[in-house]
């Protein structure tokens, strides 16, 4: 019981701290000056991180039966055991703990970085207010123990993402990008809400009676009684959940908003569009694994979409020239891998990759921010080159991040990515094909990661600007260096001690085991031989990608250039135009709805709607003219009216009582 009180208090503090930061900065920040803002913004997240660490210690210390704690803060609607029940629940379990550690930890470093990055921006109070709002929303999303509050957090992260993408609202392109992101996210929100309603309607208890609650523990416990394995209802629910996840995690076909979201300030891209929010889809599927285990068709769809997106985004990333867009497409690709992992039931592998990815991708974005800063807000990599000589520390961190991204041995990404591929060899009948695609993705990742480094930091400066480039200040450099160090050692820390000691599963896997142990659709751990084989093949693929990239863009070997030139024309073209998705959506969705709207504006609005609205007002105006004469203003007339009425009253009363 004390444990529940303690955990409830900690969770409450965790949620309240960013809210306080958001309100302080939003309401008073402009008046109290920059120093205040710069302390409150990162400070709130730092305190939240401390709270998160305490929660981690508590959960690690608890025995495995008590690792999941649900605290009900208050009842909202409670119509008894057979009626609708909604409340504000917080669930803390190992999965949540992993999420809040990343959100507050990486979030804190990015907040510190923002202090330097937004140094010259007059609106820094508003910026930190939004950033703290985002941290709160994301924490609410992962802490929610009731689907209602999960959806609230889900929508709030979309809102803060919208606010931050459009932070520089004087730029029309930023406003358009913000709108695009928000509208795409709302598609996912709607899918999620429909899924929640379907669960609410279909949930049955053990005795077959309906349960009107979408509290997550209730849903998961009763899922086995409510849904037949592979039935239409559960498949529909899971596909809707997956659509929500795809919209949030920028997966095909709802992926087009993510590259445009790079219009926001770079810390925003690092925090929201790389480390945390876009991985909410992975979290959602891992959280609802009990339902997905009952719907193999949905699982297969998720796995295919994830791997497909990983491949597509990898191809696109190869030819983009905006430094942030390249990283954005690589994010999309890596999240595709995570989605694939949770799709085949390798939940811990997916979450492992989420953790390492959050570290090295936040690092890459912040290093890119340093570059953009040094280049006076230039983002086109064709105009850079040779920056490594002037920004040594940033380059070192960037290399660490790139190698982690590419999956080179001992770097963080290697462990998690090969983990996913290892699981990929054992699950399901259609998966071997996906494993091959995964290898191609590995090659592509090496290619675009090293290409970006070589083009930006190596070679000759392409314009005058790189010559004036210099390292940024401490607040911008230190977070990058810390994450650079983590990119190197994080995988080892999580993976090795336990393997050397003879445990088969890594620390993260055994930590999250209580969450997923009930899952029936979890893939079995690959055998040692298979795992090692997948590891070897995957590593070779990554090395091929990196090696080829070094040949093509770093050493600029003529033979390599020739091979590139001999590629079929179609491929570079598709990559450059991002597979024409923007054009397709423009032609299929945007233009028709614009045309319909303007037609309605021209014909429907004035003739139909205005017509009957004006008709109603006219009707009442006409009626009132006839009654206007009654209001003479003479007391005499009113008194007469009263007297007549009194007479009628008396007469009627007499007639009735007679």
């Amino acid at each position: 019981m004390t444990n529940v009180v303690l955990m409830g208090g900690l969770a409450g503090a965790l949620l309240l701290l960013p809210v306080i930061g958001c309100l302080l900065n939003g309401l008073l920040g402009d008046r109290l000056g920059r120093r205040f803002v710069n302390w409150v913004g990162p400070g709130a997240v730092a305190l939240a991180f401390v709270v998160a660490v305490i929660i981690l210690v508590q959960v690690v210390g608890a025995d495995s039966a008590h690792k999941t704690i649900t605290v009900r803060f208050w009842d909202w609607i409670n119509l008894g055991p057979n009626g609708l029940q909604l409340g504000f629940d917080v669930t803390i379990d190992p999965l949540t703990v992993v999420m809040i550690m990343v959100i507050t930890g990486v979030g804190f470093l990015i907040h510190v970085y923002s202090v330097g990055y937004m140094e010259h921006d007059p609106d820094v109070a508003r910026f930190f207010s939004y950033m703290n709002l985002f941290i709160f929303s994301m924490l609410l999303l992962v802490l929610a123990g009731d689907m209602l509050w999960l959806i609230v957090g889900w929508a709030l992260v979309a809102l803060s993402s919208y606010l931050l993408i459009g932070f520089w609202w004087r730029r029309p392109s930023a406003v358009v990008a913000a709108r695009k992101a928000f509208i795409t996210q709302v598609i996912g929100d709607v899918a999620l809400v429909i899924a929640a309603f379907m669960i609410l309607v279909n949930l049955r208890g053990q005795d077959g009676r309906g349960i009107f609650s979408i509290s997550l523990p209730t849903v998961f416990y009763n899922a086995q009684f409510s849904f037949a394995h592979g039935s239409v209802v559960i498949t529909a629910i899971c596909i809707l959940l997956a659509v929500g996840a795809f919209a949030k995690s920028a997966q095909f076909p709802l992926h087009t908003w993510l590259p445009d979201a790079m219009e926001g300030p770079t810390p925003v891209s690092a925090l929201i569009h790389a480390a945390t929010m876009v991985t909410a889809g992975v979290y959602l599927i891992a959280r609802f694994h009990t339902l997905f285990d009952l719907a193999p068709i949905a699982q297969g769809m998720v796995a295919c979409v994830g791997m497909g997106t990983a491949l597509m985004a990898g191809v696109i990333a190869l030819s983009q020239v905006d430094i942030k867009r390249v990283i954005a497409y690589s994010t999309m690709s890596q999240i595709g891998l995570m989605i694939f992992a949770v799709g085949i039931g390798a939940y811990t592998a997916g979450m492992f990759h989420f953790v390492t990815h959050a570290v090295f991708k936040a690092l890459l974005f912040m290093a890119a921010g340093n570059v953009i800063h040094a280049m006076n807000d230039e983002q086109d990599i064709r105009l850079m080159g040779g920056l490594g000589d002037r920004m040594r520390n940033t380059e070192r961190a960037f290399i660490a991040g790139s190698l982690a991204l590419a999956g080179i041995p001992i770097f963080a990404g290697w462990f998690s990515k090969e983990d996913i591929l290892g699981f990929g060899t054992v699950a399901g009948p259609a998966i071997p094909a996906l494993f091959i695609v995964g290898l191609i993705v590995n090659v592509l990742t090496g290619l675009y990661a090293i290409r970006l480094w070589a083009v930006v930091f190596r070679g000759e400066p392409q314009t005058a600007r790189p010559f004036q480039a210099h390292e940024p200040g401490r607040t911008m450099l230190w977070p990058v260096m810390i994450l650079g160090g983590l990119s190197v050692v994080l995988g080892i820390v999580i993976q090795w001690p336990f393997q050397i000691l003879g445990f088969s599963a890594h620390f993260l896997s055994s930590f999250m085991d209580p969450v997923f142990s009930s899952a029936t659709g979890v893939v079995t751990e690959p055998s040692t031989f298979r795992g090692a084989l997948a590891l070897a093949i995957g590593t070779i693929a990554s090395l091929i990608g990196v090696g080829a990239a070094v040949r093509i863009w770093y050493e600029k070997k003529p033979q390599a250039q020739e091979v590139v030139a001999r590629l079929p024309r179609l491929l570079p073209q598709l990559s450059w135009h991002k597979f024409y998705f923007d054009e397709l959506y423009d032609a299929v969705l945007v233009r028709p709805s614009r045309a319909a709207a303007s037609t309605a504006r021209r014909i429907l609005e004035p003739r139909v709607f205005d017509g009957w609205v004006r008709g109603v007002t006219q009707l009442f105006a006409d009626i009132s003219i006839d009654f206007r004469g009654v209001e003479t203003g003479l007391i005499r007339d009113y008194a007469t009216g009263m007297l007549i009425f009194a007479g009628v009253f008396v007469a009627v009363g007499y007639l009735i009582t007679r």
């Binding site: 203003g633 003479l634 007391i635 005499r636 007297l643």
Partner: protein
């Protein structure tokens, strides 16, 4: 007093009330209108007292006193209003005074 007087007393009360009401409706001098209102109030008083007598209850008389008190205060306010209006130099005519603005 026997029950026979009852219709006469109520009839008298009704007659006085109708006279007062007619006065309120027809006359234009606010002073006369006030007098007519007093007439109506006193007609009601008479009805109260009559009913009280015939129902063997004091309530009617108590209510009559209430009405007297209200009527007195009403007259105070009304006369004050009339004198104030008279001081502004306007004709004392309820139809002309139907609007408060100049």
């Amino acid at each position: 007093m026997s029950l026979d007087a009852f219709p006469w007393l109520i009839g008298l009360s009704t007659a006085i009330f109708m006279l007062g009401a007619l006065g309120v409706l027809i006359r234009r001098n606010p002073l006369v209108v006030f007098m007519s209102i007093e007439l109506m109030l006193n007609a009601v008083n008479l009805a109260f007292v009559t009913f009280g007598r015939f129902l063997n209850s004091e309530d009617g008389q108590i209510f009559a006193f209430m009405v007297v008190v209200v009527a007195a205060s009403e007259v105070v306010v009304g006369l004050a209003l009339i004198t104030t209006v008279f001081r502004t130099g306007r004709d004392l005519d309820v139809d002309d005074l139907s609007e408060m603005r100049e």
